[in-house]
Point group: C2
Chain length 309, copies 2
């Protein structure tokens, strides 16, 4: 099955080294963010927040932010990892709340016990809520550290909240909730996942570009790229869910149980695999069309559809 997974043109980037090195920097930035959180958050809430933020993860959003920043001429200032970490705080809170007993009631995530199983539901829910404004504040601090002017900082915090909010992640989660037990067509599924996953991935890229002072044309290119890999990411998730066993994923495949529409249920495995590849290819085309020469971003597009978890 793995051999049938999509592949796009191999770029001249060592993807494994890129992911390893960037993840290590992102982890350090997440530690800094948690330390800062601890200045204000009582210890009983800091614990579930740390557990959620520092649990093993792909760190795709911060890595996209950092790589977009460099692709648009940003320098080597490590504060860009703090900017990426701000976005990961939103992602972390969303997982904490998704897994709560009053939501999906999951006791396992990435092979680890979920925070509420360790720290209780009320403390975990509150800690998750604390991460939302913290993300905006941490993004503003990182923007300052990167020397962004007020207009850029303002736009960064706007993109972050758009990606996180009703027109982005939370809105998509709502559509997901409403779609349970319903048959969604491909447009509806694209809209749902474009919001639920695509919006914050796209915001990550745009925020990196904004911090680097990218042109409007480059920002538009990053947006198209983000929309494409956002959908490709979800199609791949559905393929992985359909083909992997629970132990391999570190979580219980749940969408089938909840009778949700997936790209695999809609297209079948083969066509879904083809579609993920086409989406990733179109995404890299959009980058090239916007004049962004970024082998690392292209490598990440291939990672999105070739990853095994």
């Amino acid at each position: 099955m793995i051999a049938d997974r999509p592949a796009i043109d191999r770029p001249a980037v060592d993807l494994e080294a890129l992911l390893r090195d960037e993840r290590a920097e992102v982890e350090r930035a997440l530690e800094r963010a948690c330390e800062w959180l601890g200045d204000e958050l009582p210890d009983e809430l800091l614990q579930p927040a740390r557990h959620a933020v520092l649990s093993r993860g792909k760190r795709l959003r911060p890595i996209l932010c950092v790589v977009a920043y460099r692709a648009c001429g940003g320098g080597t200032d490590p504060a860009v990892y703090d900017l990426g970490a701000a976005i990961e705080l939103i992602h972390a809170y969303s997982l904490m709340h998704d897994d709560l007993p009053c939501m999906d009631d999951a006791d396992l995530r990435r092979g680890q016990p979920t925070p509420h199983t360790l720290f209780g539901e009320a403390a975990t829910a509150r800690a998750g809520l604390a991460l939302i404004p913290a993300a905006s504040l941490w993004a503003l601090r990182a923007s300052d550290a990167l020397g962004a002017d007020d207009g850029v900082s303002r736009r960064i915090v706007r993109e972050l909240n758009r990606g996180a909010g009703a027109g982005g992640m939370v809105g998509g989660q709502a559509l997901d909730l409403l779609g349970e037990g319903q048959h969604l067509d491909s447009n509806e599924l694209d809209r749902l996942h474009g919001m639920k996953t695509g919006a914050l991935l796209t915001a990550s890229l745009v925020i990196g570009g904004l911090a680097a002072g990218a042109s409007e044309a480059s920002i538009a290119g990053l947006e198209s790229f983000g929309r494409g890999i956002g959908l490709a990411f979800q199609v791949t998730d559905d393929i992985l869910d359909a083909t992997a066993v629970a132990a391999d994923l570190g979580k219980h495949p749940s969408d089938g149980v909840l009778d949700k529409s997936t790209y695999v249920s809609l297209y079948g495995l083969e066509e879904a695999t083809r579609r993920a590849r086409v989406l990733a290819e179109e995404a890299t085309e959009a980058l090239r069309g916007a004049g962004i020469d970024a082998p690392a971003l292209i490598a990440l597009a291939s990672y999105v559809v070739e990853r095994k978890r």
Copy 2:
């Protein structure tokens, strides 16, 4: 008992007319905010959000924002009500989440059924989450409409998130949760309520001042005023909780049941009443000390300690 409630110098403002007129404008602004939310939020989440946002409330935060704006030389642009409404979105979400079965499990608020009893827990929780980034986005739009420059907009969104976050409302809620069954001394109680209630009230005033282009001295004066009336508000809440019956408050007095420390349990009713008055008087002194001549703000300080609900 009511006759013993604190009173401070009567200012030359018709408080009742002020509250009535400002509330009417705030309600219209909240309707505008909900209409805008409806552009992106699926109807199933818009319903609990509208229910929470448009339920009867004191609207103290938006009114403080508007009145501070005017006291600092802001004009008559109605967009300042939208700025105030952004802050009320945060307050509304906090009530939605407080009342959830997985939190305080309250089925009644302001005499009305809470949103989760009507729309379910998952939809209400998600709708509440949607309001948090919405508040930042709506504040940025209102800042634009008021002609605020990027630096002011940036500071407004920062104050909003500080008031809402770990160092403000959510942090205070966490301390509140942790304080159940514990005896808190006056410093601990002041810290808790300074964060839980005071931070967002103070942010409301500061945001109004910032939008009006207030001097740093005026902003500092508004901060002191906000801290004072924030504590006075909570002391008064505790007095009301201790003396009112459930039917009169429209909610069930709960802190006694949860064995929480209150200002009444700490000081007794008489001393708590005196303390509320002193806090309100010190708050108005801080305003005068900062050179802010604002009879309407002074009237609101008296309202905070004289209100009956």
